[in-house]
Point group: C2
Chain length 246, copies 2
């Protein structure tokens, strides 16, 4: 079952306002990390899985990529992408990652920013990506960190009576699968996977692990969003870079 | 500063009694995992860093290894190893991992069971191991899981008034370095490192990551040591397997 929270009107409204603020975990933690993992965009063909409103697709073109294909399940997102981040060398398709089929196409870089935790069948996703990569093509993705997704009751920070964060609570680490949470709307579903599953599935499918990043905030983020200091205490995200060795 | 808790008489006595019981985390969680990661011992030369009393060295010989060099900082441990696990094809040396220098020697397998978290300079250790490996030689080690070593105040489980474990507490994840705890004696020092440091340092030194294991208990362990069911809730150990690509 493919989830499409981004076409829920309430969610989309709240999420859009958040992203437009420019004061988010994406801006200060996740995006700087995933961008730092890219070796080189010059002349590269890029596939962006879960491209959202196309900012990253545009970034790739502006930094030398020859063409980008952006894929997203949300019609709202793709509509916005086509309006705000259109370019001759960017194509946007509205389809779920699971349903995407691209016969005979290969990409030098497949990227996915914070979409993998919505995909139920991770092994199948990796097989698909592997077949879409050129020789030595790179697959770079970010996902919520297993430390953050592990606990079934998703109330992470334990606080004292004054609201100070005492520590992060972790549980159910080895029980992979569905985690349901409230994020603007009820019933947002993400999938928890262990570090070993995230990494070993890549390797078993012929990808070479190149780097793991557990990002902290960039300096400006600590000024504009002081709570990002907590990223030192437990990582929200993990970025994994791999390369197709075939 | 190299730590040698195993030559503290009180520690050694308590630790020896524990290991001889055969009812330990090592027996049911860590050792099965590290052994499962070994591809093949036939005719292999093995270096065991932190060999303790030599059970693993003996295991390697019994499973086809041609020779084993066991290294440990503790004179107590090496004395016991020479008494209890002597073999023509096993050598034991009493020296710290940090001080070990083996000019012109290469090994098909370097293994280290629960010793890496005592070593302060991880990058230096990896450089040393890399130079000791044959082409395609394997480096397999287990260490305490970063989820377990992260928090500076090492009181992991949060319990209710009846002593039931509510969740595992995590903090200080990004602050690598010294963690001091009481384990039979005061002042046992271990070093916390993030997952990304554990993995990236291997890759930066020319090793290819082959597998990560976050082990749970084998079935018999759950019968003999019921608290091992908690390994499902948070992993105590991580086993990392890599290969020398040069």
């Amino acid at each position: 079952m493919k989830q499409n929270i981004y076409d829920d009107p309430k969610f989309f409204k709240e999420y859009s306002a958040l992203r437009e603020s420019g004061i988010t975990y994406n801006d200060f933690v996740e995006q700087p990390a995933i961008k730092s993992a890219i070796s080189n965009l010059d002349g590269k063909s890029v596939l962006d899985l879960g491209c959202g409103t196309g900012e990253f697709a545009k970034y790739c073109i502006e930094n030398g990529a020859s063409k980008v294909l952006g894929v997203d399940i949300s019609a709202n997102m793709i509509e916005k992408a086509k309006k705000e981040n259109a370019h001759n060398n960017i194509d946007y398709i509205c389809i779920s990652i699971e349903d995407l089929e691209l016969e005979n196409q290969k990409f030098d870089l497949v990227i996915s920013s914070l979409a993998v935790h919505y995909v139920e069948d991770y092994a199948n996703l990796i097989k698909k990506v592997r077949n879409l990569l050129t020789k030595n093509g790179e697959f770079i993705f970010s996902t919520e960190h297993p430390i953050v997704t592990a606990k079934k009751e998703m109330n992470g920070w334990v606080k004292d009576v004054d609201g100070n964060k005492l520590h992060w609570s972790l549980d159910n680490y080895q029980e992979e699968g569905k985690r349901e949470q409230h994020w603007y709307i009820d019933g947002v579903i993400k999938y928890h996977r262990t570090i070993s599953t995230l990494v070993n599935t890549l390797i078993e499918n012929g990808l070479v692990l190149e780097k793991i990043i557990e990002p902290q905030s960039i300096p400006v983020g600590l000024q504009k969003m002081p709570k990002l200091v907590n990223e030192k205490r437990r990582p929200s995200f993990i970025v994994i870079k791999s390369r197709n060795s075939f």
